[in-house]
Symmetry: C2
Subunit: 193 residues, 2 copies
């Protein structure tokens, strides 16, 4: 699946939950899918325009300000099904944190500890967010047919955050064993020249 159709998929999916304006699509992708998906602002409008041209969605003027509410057409429904059935596209990994830890010898123990502690705090934060979110969905939207699927994606976030917490604690322990007291960066050899 080409990369562009990933944006198409997200937009069609958002509209499949309920008709909304382009602006609302953007908000929904940011707020609802935000934990595992992102689309940049400048992608959504052109994509919606193209989808309308191909008859996948149709806009309906609403209110006096000329904002148009888009909804899926039947062709759009089918297109969504088709895209969902295509194999999952995995983006090439780019984990800046692990890259820095990998080259940790150059920056030294202390810098690595800082990175890990920050990662731990971030994961803890996310864990709280996921738990609040899961609770909210389980109580408010419990009867929605989408709820079980939403909960599964939230659960993925929770497991990942928990794994990060455990890993970071583990890694910090291993660094402590390495050199309990000090840990500056390796000398840079400036004096040698």
């Amino acid at each position: 699946m080409a990369r562009r159709s990933q944006t198409e998929l997200a937009v069609l999916g958002a509209l499949s939950m309920q008709p909304m304006t382009a602006y609302a699509v953007r908000s929904a992708i940011r707020d609802v899918l935000g934990h595992f998906w992102s689309e940049s602002f400048g992608q959504i409008y052109p994509t919606l325009t193209a989808l309308e041209r191909h008859g996948m969605v149709q806009g309906q003027e609403a209110g006096r300000s000329g904002s148009s509410v888009f909804s899926l057409t039947h062709a759009g429904q089918q297109r969504l099904r088709q895209l969902l059935a295509e194999p999952v596209v995995t983006t090439p990994p780019r984990n800046g944190l692990l890259l820095r830890l990998f080259f940790g010898r150059t920056t030294g123990l202390a810098a690595c500890r800082d990175l890990l502690i920050t990662a731990q705090a971030d994961a803890q934060q996310r864990l709280h967010e996921y738990e609040a979110l899961a609770e909210h969905v389980a109580t408010e939207d419990a009867d929605s047919p989408d709820a079980p699927y939403t909960l599964i994606t939230i659960s993925a976030g929770r497991y990942t955050a928990q794994a990060t917490l455990q890993w970071a604690a583990d890694a910090l322990r291993s660094l402590d064993q390495l050199a309990p007291t000090s840990g500056g960066p390796v000398p840079d050899g400036s004096a040698e020249r």
Copy 2:
């Protein structure tokens, strides 16, 4: 940090471990950093050329075929430190699996089960790879000063894979509870027109 300097960072980092040819840099990024980092082929050569122009690396002809082995200059060392010290850049998330599960109501229970089972198998596979890798590093390169840091990144992969396994099992259970017997996609309304 601009996105380009991420490539710079990976290339400088690779060369900080040992001098090598552009081709070897590419192989190292693919094979060694592969679990958490990727650079496309077409980026590495231009980046190396630019780095040489700026005096960050210097190439030395080796062998009769004119292949040049690059090594970090002092300026390159400093540049690497500087880049490593900059805040971690997080790429916007794009998890195609979770996107599909989120819209699971449209594709139906069976499709979601398939996705989860595949994800489980993939995670299991990765877990084995990480364990083999960790064992290899712990025995072969145990005395390398880079070994502790390498092991931390491998550990991250292990924790993540394990979390995926648990999450998928959990999710499969919750889907089973939802409808133990059937689970086709929602009707698409074709007949209604």
